[in-house]
Symmetry: C3
Amino acid sequence: MIISGSGRHEVEAVEERVALLDVLAQAPAVDHHCHGIVKDEVSAQSFQKLATESDLPQGPGGDVFDSPVGVAIRAECAPLLDLPRHVDAESYLSRRAELGQREVTRRLLAAANISTYLVDTGFCADEITSPDELAAVSGTQGFEIARLESLAERLAAEGVGAQGFYDAFRAELESALRTAVGVKSIIAYRHGFDFDPARPTEAEIRSAAGAWLSSPERRLSDPVLLRALLWAAVDAGKPIQMHVGFGDSDIVLHRCDPTHMTEFLRATVTTGTPIMLLHNYPFVREAGYLAHVYPHVYLDTGLAAGFSGASATSIVRESLEIAPFTKVLFSTDAYGLPELYLVGALRHRLALARVFGEWLEADAIGEADARRYLRLLMGGNAQRAYGLTPHQSAATSA
Amino acid sequence: MIISGSGRHEVEAVEERVALLDVLAQAPAVDHHCHGIVKDEVSAQSFQKLATESDLPQGPGGDVFDSPVGVAIRAECAPLLDLPRHVDAESYLSRRAELGQREVTRRLLAAANISTYLVDTGFCADEITSPDELAAVSGTQGFEIARLESLAERLAAEGVGAQGFYDAFRAELESALRTAVGVKSIIAYRHGFDFDPARPTEAEIRSAAGAWLSSPERRLSDPVLLRALLWAAVDAGKPIQMHVGFGDSDIVLHRCDPTHMTEFLRATVTTGTPIMLLHNYPFVREAGYLAHVYPHVYLDTGLAAGFSGASATSIVRESLEIAPFTKVLFSTDAYGLPELYLVGALRHRLALARVFGEWLEADAIGEADARRYLRLLMGGNAQRAYGLTPHQSAATSA
Amino acid sequence: MIISGSGRHEVEAVEERVALLDVLAQAPAVDHHCHGIVKDEVSAQSFQKLATESDLPQGPGGDVFDSPVGVAIRAECAPLLDLPRHVDAESYLSRRAELGQREVTRRLLAAANISTYLVDTGFCADEITSPDELAAVSGTQGFEIARLESLAERLAAEGVGAQGFYDAFRAELESALRTAVGVKSIIAYRHGFDFDPARPTEAEIRSAAGAWLSSPERRLSDPVLLRALLWAAVDAGKPIQMHVGFGDSDIVLHRCDPTHMTEFLRATVTTGTPIMLLHNYPFVREAGYLAHVYPHVYLDTGLAAGFSGASATSIVRESLEIAPFTKVLFSTDAYGLPELYLVGALRHRLALARVFGEWLEADAIGEADARRYLRLLMGGNAQRAYGLTPHQSAATSA
C-alpha cells in the first residue's frame, strides 16, 4: 500500500529526539540578530522592564515572571544559578543579585552555546556590551550589524546638511560595512511596510532631508528618507535585516505584514542583496511564502520564540512549512538580559528537535538530511548568507 | 548538558493531565462573556439555527450536526441526556424534546460547572434568560454586561433628541453600571476596528446624533456615535468587552483585526479602563500581542473554542504564546442552547489540560505554577479584572 | 465527572490511525483542482522549476530537493521508482530519467490513488496532458475546469470587438460548460480580492473591453472585465474555483485574503452558485470562517499541503476548525510533475488520518462519523458540489 511510514519508528521517538538535541548542541550556532547585554547590575525593577517587549508601565497582573518568558527563565536559567527548576521569582532575583550580572552572564552565555553573534548596535549602545565585549565574555566571536536609522540620526546630530546628507550617509554606511556584516532597518517601526517601493530621487531625498534636519525632531520617520536608507543598503549589497511584526508599542502590527512590501522585494530581486525578515510574529507564514518565492528573502522566528517560552515549537514549526530549509535562520533578538540568549537558544533547539523528531518518527525525512538541515538552520544558512568564512565560524569553538 | 527537560516525565503524562483536569474542574470558572438561554422549547429547526454563527439559510451539507460543534454536542452532551456518545442527530433531538428545554438546561449547565456568568444582555433579551434567571437555573451567580449600542438604540426608540443624546447616554450608562460589571461594544460589527481613535467632540456627536435620529434607521452604525459610546465607556472605567473577529455574516473579517485599533489602545492606556478582546478568531496572536504590550488589554478565545469542538486546543494554545498568563480569560460566548455552555466550557478545560500537560511533560513549567495559572485562566483573571469580590465568587460554589 | 474522554483509548492510537488510512485509501478521491502533466521528458533543470511555486531564478540554497516538497518527493516517490526512501537528489533524477516521464507518471499516479481529476486547462495547455489524457494515463476519469481569464484572452486573440465581447464571452462560457464541470478565476493574481463587488454594467464592460482590446496587452488584468467574467460565471451556476493566497511572484499576498471579497459573497449568496476557495495558504482560517457563514462557500488546502510536505498536517488541521465537514474538499493543485499528485494526495491522507486519529484517541468523535467525514472530505463533498453522478465516480474504480 502506498500509505506507509506514519506510525513507524514510534518506539524510537524519544531516542531520536535526544540524538537530535546532540546534533543541535554540537552544531555551530549563529545568532544572526541580537543586541548587547546590560553592563551594570540589574535591579528587580530593571529586570521586569527588560523581560518584556512592552515599554509601558504594567499594572496588576504585570509581573513578567508570570508570562511565558518568565516561566521559561525560572525553568531553564534557575538551575544554572544553582537553584531548583521553577523557582519563585523572588528567590531567582535574590540569587541573581548575589552572583552579580557578570557571573550570571558568564554562566548563561556559556550554556546558550552560541558560537557567533551578529549584534545590532543601533539601540542604547552605551549601556550594553559591544559585539567585541559580548564575544569576549562568552569566548566566542561577534560581528556588528549597523542600524541604518541610527547611522542617519548620528549624522543629523553631527550637523550634516540636507544637500550633503545622502552622500554622507552612503559614505558612513560604506565605512560601517568595512567591519559590519550586514545592516538593520526598522522601517516597520518608523513607518510600516506599506512604503513606496520605488527608489527615491536625489531631489526627493534632499527635500525630505531638508525638512527633517530643519525640524527639532531627531527621530527619523520620514518615509522618503527611510526608503533612501534602504536603497543605499540594497546598493551596498550586504544582508539587510528588517524588523517584522511583534515588537513594542511603537508598532502598528497590521502594517508590519511583510507582504506589504512585495513590490520592494520584486524591485530588488535582481540585485541579489539578501533581505532577512526578523521575528515575523505573527506573520511567520507570510514570511515563509516570501522566502519560498523570492530567492533573496530569508526569515527567522527570533524574539517570538524566546518570548513564547514553551510555545516556541508552534512558531518555529510554521517557519518550516513552505520555506526552503536553506532560507530559515536562527536568532534570539536577545537584549540586555543574558537570560534571553539562553532561553531563546534553548527553546529554539528544543523546538527544532521536536519538529524534526516528529518527522523522523513518521519517516518523513531521512536521518542524514535531518542532521544536515539542523546544522544549516542553526548556523550554516547564516554563514552562507552573511559570507562568514569557515575560519571565522571555526574560531568560535576554539 | 544544557538541553534537558524534553522527554522527561513522559510516562507520567496521562496522570498529569488527569490531575490537571481535576484542578480545572475545581477552579471557580468565570464565563466572562455569554448570553442567556432560550426559554421556550427548541424545535429541530431552531436548534439548527442556534448551533451555528451563520445567520443565512443553509443548503445541502448544512446540517449543524456535521460541523465541529455538532460533533462535539453529540459526543459530550449526549451522555448527559442518557444517550450514548456520538449518537445520531435525530436521536439527540428526539431525546432533547422528550426531556424538554428546562431539564436539558438543568443537566447541561450543572455539568458545565461554571460558577459565575457575565451575561451580555444586548441581543434578543426578551427570548432568553436574564443574568438572574441564568444564575437561578444553574445555582450560580450572574452579572450583567451592558451593551453600549443597545443602550443607545433604546434611547433612540424612546425619542431622545440629538441635543441631549450624549448626556442621556452617559446617564443611562452610569445607571446601567450600578449593577452591570462591564460593557460590550460591537463596533467590529457595525463599522470595523479601522475607526478614528480620537474622542469625538460634543459638536460632532450632536451632528451625528441628529442625522441618525432623524433617519428611519434605528440600527446604530454611525462611526462617530460608535466612538462616542466607546469613549463614554472609557470614562466610566469598567471593563469594555469588544467583539473581535469570527461572528455572523454582518462581519467583514479583515476589518476586525484588533491591531487596527492600535491608536485607540494607545489613547486609552493611561485611563486604566480594561479592554477585553473577545473571541479573536482568527486574530488570536494579534490579540495576544496587544495583551503583551498594552497593560489594559486582555483576551479570550470563547466562541471559536466552542464552535471548533475538538480543535479548540489549537486556538487556546495560540492565546498562551506571548500574552501573560494573567491576561487571558475564559468565556463561552454561548447563546440560546445550553449545549454551547457545556461544550465551550468542557473544550476549554480539555484544551488547557492538554497544553499545560504537554508543558509539564517537558518540564517546561512547575506543577505549582501550572495549578495557579489554570485557576487564573479559568476565573481568577476575570475576578481581578472585573473587580468581582472573593465573596461573590465564593458564593458560586455554595 | 463531566470531564472525560481525553486520555482514553491511547493504547489504540496507532491501530486507529492505520484503520483510518485504510478508509482513506478506499474512499473515492476527487482531486477537485489540478492541472495536467508535462508530456515531454523532464530535465533536471525543468524539474527544479516545476517543484516550486517560485518563478524566479534561484541562487545559492535554491535546490528544491532541500525544500519541504523536495524532501517529501525523496521520501515518498523514491520507493515507487525502486529507490530507497530519502534518496539523494542526483540518484532520484538519474533513476527518473532512466524510467522516463511516461513510466514515472504511470507509477506515481497509480499510487496517488485518485479516482477523479478536475483539471484546470487554462495554463500552458499545449505542454501538458488534457483531462482525457490525464484520466487515460491513470485509468481514471477527468473533467475540465474552464479558466475564465483564458477564455476571454482566447477571444481577444481571435479578434473579438469591444461591442460584442461580453456576449461572445457568455456564449464561449456556455459552450465550455457543456463539458466542463466548473470554472476557475484568477482574479487574485490579476487584481486581488479588494475588487468592487457590484455587477458591472454593460456600458462599463464595453468601455473596459474597448480599452483592453485596443491595447497591445493580451494579459487580462482590467478589474471591470475580471468582475464581468466572474458575474457571468455566477449566472452560469456551476462552481467557481477561486485561487486564494500562496502562489507565484505575481501575487500580492495580503490582497488575496478572501475576506476582502465579503461583499461579493454576500451579493452572490442567494444565487446558490458554489464558490470554491482554493489553497488558502495562509488564509485557511479566514476561508473556514467564510465556509462556516456562507452556505455557498467551500474550501480546500491543496497546493500548500503538497508544498509543505510533512507539515501538511498543520494546514489541513486548520481547515477543519470551524468549517462544516461537508464544506471542505481535497485537491493537489499539482502541475507538470506526477510527483506533485502523489505527494499532495498522500500528505493530505496522512494529515486527515493524523487529525481524525487524535480525535478518536480523545473520543471526541465516533468511528462511524469519522469514516463518513473522511469519505466526504476525500471526494463526497466534491461529488455533491460539482454534481458528479455516482455513476461517474463509480466508474473511476472500474
